[in-house]
Subunit: 510 residues, 2 copies
């Protein structure tokens, strides 16, 4: 058995049956093995950041890792940005990267690069296969790491894929997330009983509906407040679920919102810090005299910790006060608020919302808090270009559910190639592009920097010359598309796209 | 003076007056300084690999470095692939990357990444600014390195840009490339006088017209042969210049072409090795009994070494036997050969040809060897996605000259965003997309791997479902475009695009 064959058998034996791929020459023996050994669905991305972003979206909805297949060196480099985002989302990925044959590396052929060095920055687990004999064992270890929510990069030099004498790696057991220590429950309970202003800050898996409901039971019992981290891998929200606000992105707003709290209880979350530093503004967003308590670290079982805490506090089970679902679409001119209202009213049951609409996202988040039940996926690592790939992977994971991708035009251009994969795989994705023809967030940041946007800065932040024709771009990549100029047109296009089984793109010129 | 202002003044003082940019929040103070201090032309790319590839193309034609301006961490990561190519081309770039403020880094905000670690792999010179006071001095050192044909990455944490007390760095002198030692001339002369089969292998600046002419004088005197490396940063060729062949990409062809040589004289070149390893095939492409001689290392003055060698051998100045220029365009169905013939016949005087047409490029290289004088720029590092960005930068450097970008469809999709920059800057670029709707080169490599392309492998290498609409893509990005179905249509479209002042894209469905 060749190393490549052992790799494919090991993936299958451990339940990894999806591979997002953009292979090159050094991966051809793996491609040949994928051909010979059936069972792994291969999905091609036309650029590597599409591949890695799709693997991130897949994990968030499937809760199991996909494999990737990337070309050596610069191929991996092209996918690093979305691996960074995946790392921040704690998404597990079996990140398979080819490389020059072990004995060829010393010749420094033109494509030779430090594949492993680049991988280490985004990977919790990195290994370069030394010999075909160990490929199966190495792959099993990579899968074990990925199933724990880690980026596991397995670098497979070409000769370790083509040589024989390899054997399949047996599936390794993956322990469930550890429960927090009783002392952590006790400490949180003490803070909550203190009658001082207390915040439960939730992240990770503690933002699923059941855990959220538990958190609100605790809050109702103790007068604590509940909030989510700034950017979250996945929130289960909408009608029938508790609504939750997030730590704001703007430093002044965040500091104001966290002001006055004396206790901050972290549940699958980390201490809130500002996304960037600004002269004269704080880095920590919570008050200096606020005491931090860790109920559950991100890698621990947050939902279990919440349940134990609720028991300890004897928090009664309460029924949710349920506001009416938003049902009225907007009429007339298509502002951001009108778009938000219309999307919230029409959002399909169990939709998956993927949000990379930088300046427009918050309005839609607010408008949709009581919309049909849905999952909300954010850009977690700040590396823009995550939205369209993540929607692609989420749609494959969440079969039968509509994906609604909220996409800024600036960030959408980084990985626009993802639309082609959506077309090829006939994925049920409605992409709404908010086309303000600018890096609008940077214009605000330039003002933060105390500068006026003159002609030079505007030229670096305006996308209006030439205007990007999103419907032409989408059509060129095989995705049907149309522009919505009014709220009525948006509603019509959303409705018809939700009835269809394939992808559709709606451009909203703002 | 802020660090950002010192940076801009230092760039200007050292003659760096072009900045390819895709900035983010951590670079806003640099943007503000570029606004306040006039003199640097800023060119926006919509994805970082466009920015770095354009800087590579700019160096190759301008022979001086441009600056880049990239966002921290993942922003840099998105541009690594074309920095890899630039490194292999020995292109100089002042690669400026922002980063989290020095004191903010410890908070591990979501976008925090190991910017310096990623940069080191592609940079001959890397420095993270420690303090605003030293920005000017650090920038001057970066420019000094870049002017020697190196990637010099200067990482500028946000606070070192916004803090004051900085000062301008004075321009540092850059020594010209060192002359080779007399012993190297003597050794090469001895090999050439040996009457054994000898090859002059040329790379780098030894592929400019004057150096090439000298190499052919030496060859005429000694019966040596002359060849270029496999992939070259820039060859001056066409009518009135010696024609030169390249080391073939396919291992068997390369080994056959280099068979029998007893001496290999390297002139600004490195020993020829195969691009990838293959089972049972050699890594070194020259015969085991061939003796290697280094006339000039890549960083030395190869043209000067050739001139000294020609003098030593008393090689007479000979006039070039000049074949007729190809003038006949093809007729009828538009094959690769017909396209090659037509492009060669119509190529404008002093065009800059940028080649990333993987499987179609060699036919055009052959057909155009006696076409109008032109520069030919290859993908040097094997990281595909170089062509469209490189054409963009080359067009800015080579004002008044037409750029003809020969582009495969597969590789073109990696950095298609470059077309938008071509439209915005009204650059005189004719892009010819050879649309075979496949990673054709990989289908050949899969066969090399001894495998048959079944449905799974074909799905990873075919781009036909859906077919990419290149004219729609181009139009959506602001570039006029049309399809050529016949040779006559191709000729008409080429002629009209060569008369226009802006960009145009021609899709050839194969």
């Amino acid at each position: 058995m060749t190393g490549a064959e052992a790799l494919v058998h090991t993936l299958l034996g451990s339940g990894v049956d999806l591979c997002f791929a953009n292979p090159g020459t050094t991966e051809m023996h793996v491609v040949a093995a994928l051909e010979r050994i059936p069972g792994i669905r291969c999905v091609l991305g036309l650029q590597e950041n599409v591949v890695t972003g799709a693997a991130d979206g897949y994990w968030r909805m499937a809760e199991k890792p996909a494999a990737t297949l990337l070309h050596c060196g610069p191929g991996l480099a092209n996918g690093l940005a979305n691996l960074h985002n995946a790392r921040r989302a704690r998404s597990g990925i079996v990140n398979i990267v080819g490389d020059q044959a072990t004995y060829h590396r010393a010749l420094d052929a033109p494509l030779t690069a430090d594949t492993e060095g680049w991988a280490r920055n985004v990977s919790a687990w990195t290994r370069t296969v030394r010999d075909a004999q160990t490929v199966g064992r190495d792959a099993a270890a990579a899968i074990e790491a990925a199933r724990q929510g880690q980026i596991a990069t397995l670098i497979v030099p070409a000769d370790t894929a083509w040589n024989s004498n390899s054997s399949i790696g047996g599936a390794l057991p993956v322990a469930s997330a550890p429960e927090p220590a009783p002392s952590a429950i006790e400490e949180a309970a003490r803070a909550l009983r203190s009658t001082q202003p207390t915040l439960l800050l939730l992240g990770g898996r503690s933002l699923r509906a059941a855990a959220l409901t538990t958190a609100y039971r605790i809050a109702a019992r103790t007068d604590a407040q509940v909030m989510a981290e700034m950017f979250n891998a996945r929130i289960e929200r909408g009608c029938g679920r508790p609504s939750i606000s997030r730590v704001p992105y703007l430093v002044d707003q965040a500091v104001a919102k966290l002001a006055g709290f004396k206790h901050l209880i972290l549940v699958s979350a980390t201490p809130p810090v500002s996304f960037f530093a600004y002269p004269g503004k704080p880095g920590h967003l919570y008050p200096p005299d606020c005491e931090l308590h860790v109920l559950a670290r991100p890698e621990q079982d947050g939902p279990c910790a919440l349940a134990q805490l609720a028991d300890r506090l004897q928090a009664p089970i309460s029924s949710l006060q349920e506001p009416d679902r938003p049902k009225e679409v907007a009429h007339g001119s298509l502002t951001v608020a009108a778009a938000a209202q219309t999307i919230a009213a029409l959002l399909p049951e169990n939709a998956v919302v993927v949000n990379e609409a930088g300046t427009c996202g918050p309005a839609i988040f607010s408008a949709s808090q009581h919309a049909a039940p849905h999952d909300w996926l954010d850009l977690t690592g700040g590396a823009i270009g995550a939205g369209l790939p993540m929607a692609t992977g989420a749609a494959i994971a969440a079969a039968g559910r509509r994906v609604v991708a909220l996409q800024a035009d600036g960030s959408g251009m980084y990985t626009v190639q993802a639309l082609w994969t959506q077309a090829r795989e006939r994925l049920p994705i409605t992409t709404v592009v908010f086309s303000n023809r600018a890096y609008a967030i940077l214009l605000a940041e330039l003002a933060n920097a105390g500068a006026q946007a003159g002609p030079i800065a505007r030229k670096m932040m305006s996308l209006s010359d030439p205007a990007i024709g999103w419907t032409q771009l989408a059509t060129g990549l095989g995705v049907e598309a149309a522009r919505a100029e009014t709220s009525e047109q948006l509603a019509d296009l959303l409705r018809s796209s939700f009835r269809s089984s394939g992808p559709f793109l709606i451009e909203i010129p703002l």
